[in-house]
Symmetry: C2
């Protein structure tokens, strides 16, 4: 198995991009990643693109072919991978396997979602849950995560304010990210007084509806220095599945897919949670940020609330989480999120993260999940 | 790069399966493939599933998680891949890369589509074409392939009867396939007198709307004989992209993605077209069967019509094509087709194809495309 490195990354501005089409966004991300890697489009040997539901959002399937066509990449093989909001993480992993296998050398893994071209995105997003056992009974993601939050509060004494703190810290970071959808600071009071969405979750606990795209360029680790002076190495690429429906879980305050993927990733990299210097975690709702730092092993089970309150996840804390602003502030264009997380970690490990740069980083992690945790992808990188 | 072998295959009955749900079909295919390989579900290390549009057909995305859950496969990594009607071929290729890379040993690649749960499947299928440049202008797949057929007739003198012959031979084969959707013989006259769909294509030139699933189980070639006495080896796995829209092509009677993928596959296997003993090709419409045998190099460009008329593609001909009945007679559940083609070639190479068995086979090929050829996957196998 060949080791793999990242030699280029990109992210478009995230937001409600009314003037930018699906195909324009992904092409922009691809061109910027190619530019960042200092290669030509013709150097690419394969493309993988993560996208949850262009079929329902913009009535277009077969998007890998469309993108290759739009970007002038024919005839290279182009594949879409999908696992709801973890689609980006899986596109990254597919690209890594394509390089690791020796099938391809220089590969682009991208992610894209255009969510604002439908009147109501909620029914589309809900297709990531179990239609028959959850959605047809009235559940949607805010209500499913609300149950997880309520149970975490009941089991571990997590407070409403601690949930809010996760959003507040995300926005404090996103305020420094020019590509973030909502680069403004918020307060705990603002979270607690924002509109109720699904008790106990309020508007400012929820990641937004976002258009956006991101891309990374991969090559064999041994070739990386031909292209760049700052290669970032893939130390682990792990993926696991869990039940798609909440009702089947032994415990709805633990996402087993995250636990399994993290365990595999740590084993593959020969590292422990305390070796991770920075992580981008999947905070589609504030509660999921807390679950993530527990399930990834950064804090003890049930202790995420006090840990966030104590500031350990701040940029100057023990384990900085979501320096990009996370899904909450940077935005969450479903299929693009796993790739945007990777771009942020690459920028941080290169020392190119601008005003939000954290110093002295060596090891970074991304954590990307689908649905309420039916899929999890965990990657570890080093400089 | 590790060599890869196939140790188990399956296909459900194809048809309008009103009593069988999406999740039931794919679980049945998976269990049968596991049984065929003589392994346990717990031996599987990863799953890839090809599916074009469960989002639009059954309002369910995140299907790999759903399937893993339904089949009790958690926590192994499960990934959906999509490239319209080539989704199955890409799921196979993803599984092959996962094994070749060393990331996983025993992997299941499956395909599934439930097409009969919507009132009108045509708008769903049309999402595989370019929405903005084709579909919104009124094009659908029958009309796009009709243009390709008309041009082939104009350029090369291909006759209406020769197109019909491709369907007739498919049905002659499918008549012997107990898993086929339409296992009945048809005549050239019946094709010529069937309802007009898009001139010159008539109903019996068109593959049907189908529910179905199929699965294959892969492992490192060096381990294959631990599991089976009849391993089938993957000699080549190639994939290419072409323009998603017809209007951008240099020639609409050639599918460049097929040409590129075939060239790569032959190179990878160290073989030539004349070395192929049997092939399953993607005949979503009769014209596409003719284009396939030209683009794969079995006959000279423009000569497919007379070749089919001369019987070279019959089971006892020079290059037997679609012994399963092809998309036309076996049926075409979009995401399952590439995997079902693989199952047929495996059965043929093992000598387990029952009444439709062709004797003395050593090398087989599958050819699976998406849309009008925006994606093509070509695989070569040997016994």
């Amino acid at each position: 198995m060949r080791d793999v490195a990242i030699i280029g990354v990109s992210q478009t501005k995230f937001g409600e991009l009314w003037d930018t089409s699906f195909r324009d966004m992904i092409t922009e991300a691809g061109l910027k990643a190619i530019g960042d890697a200092g290669i030509e489009g013709a150097d690419l040997e394969a493309m993988f693109v993560g996208n949850m539901s262009a079929g329902l959002f913009v009535e277009q399937e077969h998007i890998a072919s469309l993108i290759a066509d739009q970007a002038g990449l024919n005839p290279i093989p182009c594949t879409r991978v999908e696992a709801a909001c973890a689609s980006g993480g899986l596109a990254l992993r597919s690209g890594i396997m394509a390089v690791a296998s020796g099938y391809h050398d220089v590969v682009i893994s991208a992610g894209v979602e255009k969510m604002t071209d439908v009147v109501d995105p909620t029914p589309v997003i809900s297709t990531a849950a179990d239609q028959e056992w959850e959605v047809q009974q009235g559940a949607s993601f805010p209500s499913l995560y609300a149950m997880m939050a309520r149970r975490h509060m009941h089991e571990y004494g997590t407070t409403r304010e601690q949930l809010a703190m996760f959003s507040v810290i995300n926005h404090k970071n996103g305020f420094l990210n020019p590509l973030a959808q909502f680069p403004m600071k918020i307060t705990v009071d603002q979270v607690l007084n924002s509109s109720m969405v699904a008790d106990p979750l309020r508007l400012l606990d929820c990641s937004p509806i976002t258009d956006g795209a991101a891309a990374v360029i991969l090559c064999p680790a041994e070739d990386a220095r031909k292209y760049t002076d700052t290669p970032i190495y893939v130390k682990a690429s792990a993926q696991a599945s869990g039940t798609i429906g909440l009702h089947e879980r032994r415990d709805i305050t633990t996402i087993d897919a995250t636990v399994h993927a993290a365990r595999m990733a740590y084993k593959m990299a020969g590292l422990k949670p305390q070796d991770i210097d920075v992580a981008e975690v999947h905070d589609c709702f504030s509660i999921n940020g807390l679950l993530a730092i527990e399930d990834l092993g950064f804090v003890e089970k049930g202790k995420a609330g006090p840990a966030v309150e104590d500031g350990i996840t701040e940029r100057d804390g023990k384990i900085p989480i979501n320096p990009s602003g996370g899904l909450k502030s940077r935005g969450h264009p479903l299929g693009a999120t796993g790739i945007a997380q990777t771009a942020e970690i690459v920028w941080q490990l290169r020392g190119e993260a601008g005003k939000r740069q954290i110093n002295g980083l060596e090891i970074g992690m991304t954590h990307n999940i689908g649905g309420t945790g039916g899929t999890a992808a965990v990657h570890i990188f080093s400089n």
